[in-house]
């Protein structure tokens, strides 16, 4: 259980803004994900969550740092080439917006079976179509949808198709970049339950990226908090929510909306002063599993 599947070390990535300026989207982020764990990465928009996900999936090439997947440095071209097949089949990603991540002109059956086809894998269930039907049923949809096109489906159904497509490869690592942010409340609950079910049954390792802290608290085993490209705190979910140490984490947690009018209106918010953010400090271990950026701020 304690085997490390993904090891991200000192990841840095910046985007050119023009005129010689750069935006440091991810700045020295390190974390490890153990096998069979759901690791949540939270932060506000622009904090670098998606950039981390894209680096992990080799969509972006980080400028510094290394990403070890099963001990293989995925950013090293030679190592990547030597393990290409393993890396491309074992890691899968689910994007936020399923209306743009699914090809509008492909039928659901072809979308779900495409990863098998492009990787020349013999479908374990006989035909590509049978495989697609199986995966579709697995995510809770009727195989009658196999011949539909994505625009004919609702948002929740499309997201299920995106999940089914990722599952055809029976991945070990599933990266989910805000997979439920675009869905309605009642559909969100269905997809969250699906994730929990899949994880319990398959033992996937999850990198779950979200801005909705209530969902993260419900779903994840451990959580890392990103702020302006820096990982400011990392701890098991319960510990993070019970004992946040970094002022930004405190502000973020105090901002979670509570669907209860009296409690919601009575509470005071913790304000985080952006100007006071010190990005130079090191990561300090407070307890075996709890890390926080900057030593002096870690005082309870």
């Amino acid at each position: 259980m304690c085997e490390t599947l993904l090891d991200v070390r000192g990841l840095c990535h910046s985007f050119p803004l023009g005129a010689g300026r750069y935006l440091r989207a991810v700045d020295g982020v390190s974390f490890r994900i153990r096998k069979g764990e759901i690791f949540g990465l939270v932060g506000e928009s622009g904090s670098g969550k998606s950039t981390v996900a894209r680096c992990v999936m080799n969509i972006l090439r980080p400028q510094a740092g290394s990403i070890l997947y099963r001990g293989v440095d995925v950013c090293d071209p030679a190592q990547f080439r030597a393990n290409r097949r393993m890396l491309q089949t074992e890691r899968q990603i689910i994007f936020q917006d399923s209306s743009s991540s699914l090809d509008q002109r492909m039928k659901v059956a072809d979308i779900i079976a495409e990863p098998l086809a492009v990787n020349h894998i013999v479908p374990p269930r006989g035909s590509l179509r049978a495989e697609a039907a199986f995966q579709l049923r697995y995510v809770g949809m009727d195989p009658a949808y196999l011949d539909r096109y994505p625009p004919e489906l609702s948002g929740g159904q499309r997201q299920r198709v995106a999940i089914a497509r990722a599952l055809t490869m029976e991945p070990s690592l599933l990266v989910a970049d805000e997979p439920i942010a675009a869905l309605d409340v009642s559909i969100q609950a269905q997809i969250i339950n699906l994730f929990r079910h899949l994880q319990a049954e398959h033992g996937f390792t999850f990198l779950f990226i979200a801005h909705d802290l209530a969902v993260v608290r419900y779903l994840c085993d451990r959580v890392g908090v990103l702020y302006r490209g820096k990982l400011v705190e990392m701890a098991p979910t319960k510990e993070l929510f019970d004992r946040p140490l970094h002022p930004y984490t405190k502000a973020l947690l105090s901002a979670i909306p509570i669907p209860d009018p009296r409690r919601e209106r009575a509470r005071t918010r913790f304000h985080f002063d952006e100007a006071a953010f010190d990005r130079t400090g090191g990561f300090v271990q407070v307890s075996p599993e709890h890390f926080v950026l900057g030593g002096k701020e870690a005082e309870p």
Partner: protein
């Protein structure tokens, strides 16, 4: 006579409003038989999933629906002015003065090529043509200050892309308030914003609305937003208001099974380790709407009559109404699965 006087005091008075869109698949009944009212100084939240008709309802109140939409209403009055028969030209003169609207995504409601100050000034001038240049500038700075944009003179010359999402939404709010509207309609004003900023914008909206004595309709899919900001909450499903009451009543004493489902499916209210309650199935299509109660096929408490006849709004308290047959005296007693002591 007294009914007329009563009506005149209402900021918004909607009676049996229906909106129908023509589509190739047949008429889509987006809003069906909605009645609601709003008193000055009050915030009403309209909560519902996408496609439930909440945006169509707002646009009907603003008369911003496309010409293909058919709007029918017994009453549709803003601040005592009946807007049903008004032409677009008359409506243009009233829009802003009577009611303003804030949309979801500030990046698309602002002009990316215009400075923030100039955009707010444009709104000020649109409602008070011929205002002197320095008076306009003073008013813009005052508006920027009111919506919590710090150091207005410095921000005046910035472009939308220079501002953060929260600041942009504040600028949009300033534009909406430039005409001193009696009624502010905010369609998902915080959905595109981060949680840390969401609370600030909601508090700001509440403070400003209180200060100006205006009324506000807050459309959202997020129950927590309603919990924070609204005095009263209406829950919409498949084009109808299924439950309406004070926010306390909706959260602590919900009566409609759909409201129960919405509350139970929130991860923040879920018991640790237990699967989330998910409302089975999906919202129905509204062309044509299903016979009987539109929620019946997803409702675990559905009665036989639900499949046959749509329930009327039953009165629970003077302020609280719910459209479910469970409130009929002949219905079997059902224990409420959420609400009540859970929240106290």
């Amino acid at each position: 006579m007294t009914a007329d006087a009563d009506r005149a005091e209402k900021l918004l008075d909607v009676g049996r409003l229906s909106v129908t869109f023509a589509s190739p698949a047949g008429a889509v009944e987006a809003v069906r038989d909605v009645s609601l009212d709003l008193a000055p100084g009050e915030i009403l939240a309209i909560v519902g999933e996408s496609g439930c008709g909440k945006s169509a309802l707002c646009r009907a109140i603003m008369k911003l629906l496309p010409a293909s939409a058919r709007v029918q209403a017994d009453r549709l009055a803003v601040a005592g002015t009946d807007i049903r028969g008004l032409s677009e030209r008359d409506m243009c003169a009233l829009r802003g003065r009577l009611c303003s609207m804030v949309f979801q995504d500030p990046m698309t409601s602002l002009d990316p090529t215009m400075r923030i100050g100039a955009q707010i000034a444009e709104a000020v001038l649109a409602h008070e043509p011929g205002m002197k240049k320095d008076a306009v500038r003073r008013r813009v700075l005052e508006l920027m200050d009111m919506v919590g944009i710090e150091d207005p003179p410095a921000r005046y010359r910035l472009y939308p892309h220079d501002l953060s999402g929260g600041m942009r939404q504040r600028a949009v709010l300033a534009i909406a308030l430039a005409s001193r509207p009696r009624l502010l309609i905010a369609d998902e004003p915080t959905t595109a914003l981060d949680v840390t900023v969401q609370g600030q914008i909601l508090d700001l909206l509440r403070d400003i609305q209180r200060g100006l004595g205006a009324g506000a309709v807050l459309v959202t899919h997020d129950l927590a937003v309603a919990a924070r900001a609204a005095d009263r909450t209406a829950v919409m499903y498949a084009g109808r208001i299924v439950e309406i009451g004070t926010t306390e009543e909706i959260f602590y004493d919900p009566r409609h099974p759909y409201t129960w489902g919405l509350l139970a499916s929130l991860p923040s209210l879920a018991a640790e380790g237990r699967p989330l309650y998910a409302i089975p199935g999906m919202p129905p299509t509204l062309s044509p709407p299903p016979k009987g109660d539109a929620f019946a096929c997803r409702n675990r408490y559905a009665l036989a009559i639900d499949y046959d006849q749509a329930p009327p709004l039953f009165q629970v308290s003077p302020t609280h109404y719910a459209a479910t047959w469970l409130l009929d005296p002949r219905a079997p007693a059902v224990a409420r699965p959420v609400g009540g002591e859970l929240h106290v």
